[in-house]
Subunit: 275 residues, 2 copies
DNA sequence: TAGTGGTCTAGACCACCGT
DNA sequence: CGGTGGTCTAGACCACTAA
């Protein structure tokens, strides 16, 4: 924080701006925005440490406490992870703690004794006490239907990637995912690459395409299975399915994924906590 | 914070306790627990202010910053609301801000022009851009079925209150609620009293019975409407319904409500935000 | 104007981690 | 051991609210 901008802020406190224009934010919020810019620009990459609090304090000419408060907010938003004695690190989908942040489907009964993680099979994505294997049904590039374009803030007809995949729990088809991605950000994405990848999808997006999901908005509905869904999910036509429609965002609240998940909730449920 | 407990804490830093026993928490967490106890005991009631930071600092013989950090955590958990220049207040379901914290069902399209709040009719509970009227179908006292007893941490067969009610949006049946409450905490609750009450249910629980819901856990499933549900919700038998099963807790993580909501999601959806 | 929460500082000390 | 984040303090000043 140089002297000029500090003065600018002080001006904001006393001199009234003519328009309803920018109210001057507290110092620690300004610092937070600067750090956010560093994260967004890739100055510090996922898994890497950001500079220490004392160094940042020196760099921006503020006290350590102010930097601390800025980082507190980034940590609260899961953009950054503090580790005492080591430093503060850019959050990554690599870490187990944040790995299942977006996976809310859980088995109804969490077997106390079911310790052994699925042996042998390559678990695509798995949650607490849960082993899910993923099978990619389809991956093609096409022009965005209007409602997909709207959700992803694209122009209608722009290139998108459509992935369809089936998640199985213990061999039982459980979730049919339909994932739409903007073609421009996911150039080399193909069915082969998806098949070759073992691990969470969001980790692949992060490491292979530099797209980090940091926030998502979901809409849930109960729908009746149509014939196609019924067949792939091995349920009767008209059976109730939980539809989870998700729009994920990266830095700057840019939408970068539209996902529709059709879930069989006989033995699973969507978990949520309100506080 | 008297000298004794401060010393005790310092002891904890150096002397190792024999067992895996209580690790000594930082000062601000101890303060937080003390404040929590004050909230739980009703020393400060919903809507009332708690003592100022400076007074609490003097009372507990710590710095204002330490009290501040304790209150920060209570505010983050929505137990308390800060208001600059006025004080810090015990959260209440009276306030609009926290009123719809637990209501996640929203209309699919939020009409921009639909400003006029429903005139005349008594809106039971309403959310953003949404008017819902509540009709109590039933309110009786009975012995807790085993699975209800388990959810509410009661002994099987203990007295409970069962409320069944229908929520209508613009005259369309939308949610069928089945609410189980522990009989001991809700003595005088009756259908008449429910009918006489206009406003959020949780506000009634708070003001009439001194039970404040502060946290809830939900499990969502898609289910097929049985004959009874189909009739009251005016949908076909077997139609997909969104089942929201919620257990609400008061202070000390005590469960005090089990609620099953069967929702028609043709024109509504359950909204959630992940971050 | 007095009192409240909100910001910012500077400095001390602690707990934890890697070397 | 040195460096990192975590806690705690004391004090200054600001912004907001109500009387």
């Amino acid at each position: 924080m140089n002297e000029a901008s500090r003065t600018a802020r002080r001006d904001g406190d006393t001199a009234r701006p003519a328009e309803p224009g920018p109210t001057f934010a507290p110092l620690y919020r300004q610092i937070r925005e600067l750090l956010l810019r560093g994260l967004q620009s890739g100055e510090w990459k996922p898994g890497e440490p950001i500079p220490s609090e004392t160094e940042l304090a020196a760099r921006y000419r503020v006290s350590q406490g102010t930097v601390r408060k800025a980082i507190d907010e980034l940590a609260a938003a899961n953009l950054v992870v503090r580790r005492q004695g080591r430093g503060t690190f850019v959050a990554s989908h690599r870490e187990v703690r944040t790995q299942f942040r977006f996976l809310r489907l859980r088995p109804d009964e969490i077997e106390a004794g079911a310790a052994a993680q699925g042996a042998g099979g390559a678990p695509g994505e798995s949650g607490p006490g849960m082993v899910m294997t993923s099978r990619v049904l389809e991956c093609r590039r096409l022009r965005a239907p209007s409602e997909v374009a709207r959700a992803l803030s694209l122009r209608a007809g722009e290139a998108v990637v459509l992935i369809r995949r089936l998640l199985e729990a213990d061999g039982n088809p459980t979730v049919l995912d339909e994932i739409w991605l903007p073609g421009s950000r996911f150039r080399g994405l193909s069915a082969e690459r998806l098949d070759a990848w073992h691990g969470p999808l969001y980790l692949m997006f992060e490491t292979e395409f530099g797209v980090r999901m940091i926030r998502a908005v979901e809409r849930l509905k109960a729908v009746a299975a149509d014939r196609a869904h019924a067949r792939t999910l091995q349920v009767g036509e008209g059976a109730p399915l939980l539809l989870v429609e998700r729009v994920s965002h990266t830095y700057g609240d840019q939408p970068v994924e539209l996902r529709r998940g059709y879930c069989v909730t006989d033995r699973h449920h969507y978990y949520n906590e309100l506080s």
